[in-house]
């Protein structure tokens, strides 16, 4: 039996709920991480996460494996996130959610010296990265997606994806430098 994402999604489209549940289990943590980092707010991220999977479930029967499943999934979540970010900008809402610090990983981390500072710095600096750059950085660095797939998710040309990645990393790098100078 085809246990690939695409195979499971096709089975889900035919009414196999167990297949959809397996897909959910497989992708829930990475997708939630992406939503959290995109929106920087746990409640908004939870809403988008749930709506994305609900949308997938409702439209499962219309799914055609013309692209990778992850492309489909992340494009849905990304578009919903952009919608929320636009609304925030319209209403001038504050994105920062102190509760997001809960997203700090776990107890299994090895003790580190400077890397903890870098982590904290990156977490703060991510705020400064514009969403169109942030999403590319997250998809590439966090999810390890190929450029071609990222281009499909964000619906931009390949060259634009690379330049946004460059710019996003530059934002982070400069923010880290400023932080270092401030110390």
């Amino acid at each position: 039996m085809d246990a690939s994402d695409e195979g499971l999604m096709l089975r889900a489209g035919a009414g196999d709920r167990e297949a959809f549940a397996r897909l959910y289990e497989r992708h829930k943590a990475p997708l939630l991480q992406f939503c959290l980092q995109m929106l920087r707010n746990a409640e908004d991220a939870g809403d988008v996460f749930q709506e994305a999977f609900r949308y997938l479930y409702i439209h499962a029967s219309t799914y055609r494996p013309t692209a990778k499943f992850t492309t489909y999934l992340y494009r849905i979540a990304r578009n919903m996130s952009i919608d929320i970010l636009r609304r925030r900008r319209r209403w001038n809402l504050q994105p920062l959610d102190p509760a997001l610090d809960l997203a700090e990983p776990p107890d299994l981390r090895e003790p580190r010296l400077e890397s903890d500072e870098i982590e904290a710095g990156v977490r703060d600096a991510m705020e400064e990265v514009p969403p169109s750059y942030r999403e590319v950085v997250l998809l590439r660095v966090l999810r390890g997606m190929e450029y071609a797939e990222i281009a499909e998710v964000v619906e931009a040309p390949l060259g634009t994806v690379k330049s946004r990645l460059h710019a996003g990393l530059e934002f982070l790098r400069r923010a880290m430098r400023r932080r270092k100078l401030a110390e």
Partner: protein, 219 residues
């Protein structure tokens, strides 16, 4: 070789560069102090991004619960009551449209005509409300909510479309999201003319179900 962009440095740090290009970039790094320093920073940043993104267990558990509920329900609910309501509304609309003595609505005037015309008296709007059948009440409510004196030439009035909760002209998951957030008590109540889809006078889960079904139909 000119200096290397951050995306290429990231690729190099993850060993994703093709052989020849990888060799050229590495050679450049040996000669260029600035790029070598930037390479170290990019590698540290990428590593930190991967480490600093965990998922809160409490949030994930809550979302798991929500997903279990979604999976427990049939994908397309064939509820008799909403279907009957929709059928009744459709029949009522047809009867209303076919009625011979119904005054035909005037064609939409050009914006310049709206600007030149005297304001529509409010009473006329109210009379029209009484003549309408229940089936088209939602549309009339929208009419009644449009004060004629507010009709300015530079802001053409656009009728509210039931289901278009966020008013972007589309009926899609974004509308459902707005409705869900209202039900969660996190946003103000949306306009009943677009959100009270079953016409029961309340914006509740029944409206969400109808909207979900309409979105699934690809309306």
């Amino acid at each position: 070789m000119t200096c290397v962009t951050n995306d290429v440095l990231l690729d190099l740090s993850e060993r994703r560069l093709a052989g020849e290009l990888s060799d050229r970039v590495e050679t450049h790094l040996l000669d260029c102090d600035a790029c070598r320093a930037r390479f170290g920073e990019i590698r540290a940043i990428a590593s930190a991004v991967r480490r600093c993104t965990g998922t809160p267990d409490a949030l994930l558990s809550r979302l798991d619960g929500g997903m279990a509920e979604i999976l427990a329900r049939p994908r397309r609910r064939r509820l008799a009551v909403p279907a009957a309501i929709a059928a009744a509304l459709a029949v009522a609309a047809l009867v209303y449209l076919a009625a011979p003595d119904r005054p035909m609505p005037p064609p939409p005037p050009a914006l310049s005509a709206i600007a030149a015309a005297p304001p529509l008296p409010r009473a006329e709007t109210e009379i029209r409300t009484e003549r309408r059948s229940p089936a088209s009440e939602a549309a009339v409510v929208t009419d009644a909510r449009r004060p004629a004196e507010d009709a300015t030439p530079d802001l053409p009035w656009r009728p509210a479309r039931p289901g278009d909760v966020n008013g972007d002209g589309l009926i899609d998951v974004a509308d459902r999201l707005v409705l869900a957030r209202y039900l969660a008590g996190r946003t103000p109540a949306p306009d009943p003319a677009v959100a009270d889809l079953n016409g029961d006078g309340a914006i509740d889960v029944g409206d969400v179900q109808i909207l979900t079904r309409e979105i699934a139909r690809g309306r």
